[in-house]
């Protein structure tokens, strides 16, 4: 009965992350983002996410608030073996329960330590205790078990804060249990990724287009991040409407308006798009990095299977290494300086020749915060691409933040390569 009633309402979830380390900023709460994304995909809307300290009163207050607001309350953290971890005891008292040894869990923990040849300590044995009236959520990646409590149409879930363990438990058990417990409306998203223009410019170009979305009950969000703006369309439509057809119609119109700035969809990354393009062409890539210091290479190799098209790269930080590994003429560096379009082009062409790849990207610049001059300020970066049809270089004038400059230059390099591959495809 409950399931049927629920069908017509949005199922809401609230995340409560417990841990002083999150509040004082020593750990970033990546769990909340992951949970939000995964729950959303199965039609459960996270409407609130909270971080509180390892403190009994705070936990109980948060549980009281949350149970009045949300169907599903997901807690992460505070289940470790050490004294500052008090979530389990607090849940036990919140649900008027008592801790008992769970033999399954004890056997698993014992085996966990035996397999690793580690001694099992009393604190680990105590991890096998759980509140009597919860359902244990098994943790096959660590020693802290999760807990599932039901109270009417509310579900309370507690899991460890270690992302790898929590994600494993959600995937092994929790998503399935939630899907069985609640019937859910359909939520769909489509995100279009743009680069090269700002949020205000897009909003201005797209004001009529936004009306088109409204007519179709599609919500729109602009999500700017360094170097890009994501446009996310969301439809919470439950009834018979063909959401995909609506998305397609809106997307076609968007392409007409600002298509030159669109580079991908949803979770596409430039490195994955480039990987697909290179695989289609059976083409190979090499890298010649200076100021990006390995950033481009890490991005390219983060894609599983990148060894199919990525031959390798150099990080030539010292000028001499640009000469030795890439064959950049020493006179070119002396005449124009290492930070110049001439050297960027020679690096990309040198990488292409030395690695024997079809394509190459190079970067050279002043990442900062020090090292700038009047004529070559911090943030001046040259990015070049060499390919079968020749090479070209762009100049970036970025800010003073080292990490940001490295990331933005790497992003620009990937996008330049993407455009050059597409241009070449169009020509042949």
């Amino acid at each position: 009965m409950m399931g049927e009633k629920m069908l017509h309402n949005q199922i809401t979830a609230q995340i409560i992350a417990i841990g002083d380390e999150l509040l004082i900023g020593q750990t970033i709460n990546t769990n909340a983002a992951w949970l939000g994304e995964q729950l959303n995909a199965i039609g459960i809307k996270v409407h609130r996410s909270l971080v509180i300290s390892d403190n009994r009163d705070e936990i109980i207050k948060a549980l009281n608030e949350a149970s009045a607001q949300s169907h599903i309350i997901i807690m992460t953290g505070g289940l470790g073996p050490t004294k500052d971890d008090i979530t389990k005891h607090t849940l036990c008292s919140y649900f008027n329960s008592e801790l008992v040894i769970n033999e399954d869990v004890l056997a698993r923990i014992t085996e966990f330590f035996e397999r690793r040849g580690l001694p099992m300590l009393e604190v680990n044995r105590l991890q096998a205790t759980v509140p009597k009236d919860c359902t244990v959520i098994h943790n096959f990646r660590g020693t802290a078990s999760g807990m599932w409590f039901e109270r009417g149409d509310r579900v309370f879930i507690s899991m460890p804060g270690v992302p790898y363990e929590m994600k494993g438990m959600m995937e092994d058990e929790v998503f399935g249990k939630l899907a069985a417990f609640y019937k859910r409306p359909v939520i769909r998203h489509r995100t279009i990724l743009t680069t090269g223009v700002g949020e205000s410019f897009l909003a201005n170009q797209l004001s009529d287009w936004e009306k088109m979305l409204e007519e179709r009950s599609i919500a729109l969000a602009y999500l700017p991040s360094p170097g890009m703006v994501k446009l996310r369309m969301s439809s919470y439509n439950e009834a018979g409407r063909d959401v995909e057809a609506d998305f397609n119609a809106c997307e076609t119109e968007l392409h007409r308006l600002v298509g030159e700035h669109v580079y991908g969809y949803d979770k596409d990354t430039l490195q994955e798009i480039i990987g697909s393009l290179l695989k289609q062409q059976s083409a190979t890539l090499s890298l010649a990095e200076s100021c990006t210091g390995g950033t481009l290479s890490r991005l390219i190799t983060s894609v599983p299977g990148s060894s199919e098209y990525y031959l390798g790269g150099t990080v030539t930080y010292a000028n001499e290494m640009k000469v030795r590994f890439l064959g950049v003429p020493r006179t070119l560096i002396e005449t124009h300086g290492a930070v110049s379009s001439e050297v960027a082009l020679a690096m990309a062409e040198g990488a292409r020749a030395h690695f024997g790849s079809d394509w190459a990207i190079s970067t050279t610049g002043i990442a900062g915060p020090g090292g700038g001059t009047d004529t070559k300020p911090v943030g001046l970066i040259y990015v070049a691409v060499a390919g079968p049809g020749g090479s070209l270089c762009i100049e970036l004038r970025l800010g003073k933040r080292r990490d940001n400059n490295m990331d933005m230059a790497a992003f620009a390099g990937l996008n330049l390569l993407r455009k050059e591959i597409l241009k070449q495809k169009a020509e042949f």
Copy 2:
């Protein structure tokens, strides 16, 4: 008067991040971690951090709750020029205020667009409106102004969600204004960084040591993250106690107990520690990466001034490139396979010779998720260091997650280099 009363109480802050993109997980709330850390450093304790959607009712409910719980309420997000950004209008109604054009802000926005040669749109002009009775927090990095409201001993602050803009506004104005508004007790932290042992092992070794901390009113937290456990000591002591002396005594005892596993303090990173050690020795470093794919190089170059000691590196993904760029004998790869201690050692020694550096780190392994065999499974990684006194290699057997394997192997490489440099120092 309020200031004096406050002196004896903890000043508490609450962070309210506003934005659907945070709840559905498209953006990770790094702002909360940064704010927590910075506020903590000036003696303000963040006791709660909340994320809610761009929804008027949710914002007002959160403000009502927060103002009953916390002295300082810091809001981030929802101030952009687009329709989904409603924070400013909601604050205006919450404080019974009205929006008026602020001429200073208008002038700054106009100048912002003129300087960049961009057209100024009506939506940007509207960004110059602020609630009549707030103090404007100027934003010198973007077009959305911040707002500061006072209600008795409560302060409400609203800033844009773009991290770079928010951080700039905090540093330019807000920290100073908060320090002037509230007197604060002293909170100090010292964090000791360990690697090579787990949380349970440490907790067991340190149970007596924890009593020593308790006697000195020092709170302890274990903060595990991949490859390391941080031990954070916190003292909220207001009175005359010499907190630094207490920290020093506890640290000495900790070194006696588990000193071999300690690699640094507070915000030290292995790449910074290595940078300092290399600079002390006037020594240089090169890298020969395979399975870490540029991760080590990015870490090393993320340290400003790393060009003093880092000559460069290669990412030799294809076997042929290990031969060509590092002089690894082809027969060695054929006999032992590219993933072997022999090849790892030859890569490190080859990098040292080809770059002419004092030290070199190499990595070769199967990062996954594919590519494993029975004898060489996914997660098998060799990490080698070559230096003035010879070279050595360690074998890692990690999991199946590509990004994690790349990060853990890079961490292991940095730690191996650190230990080898220290060993060499001790010998001479």
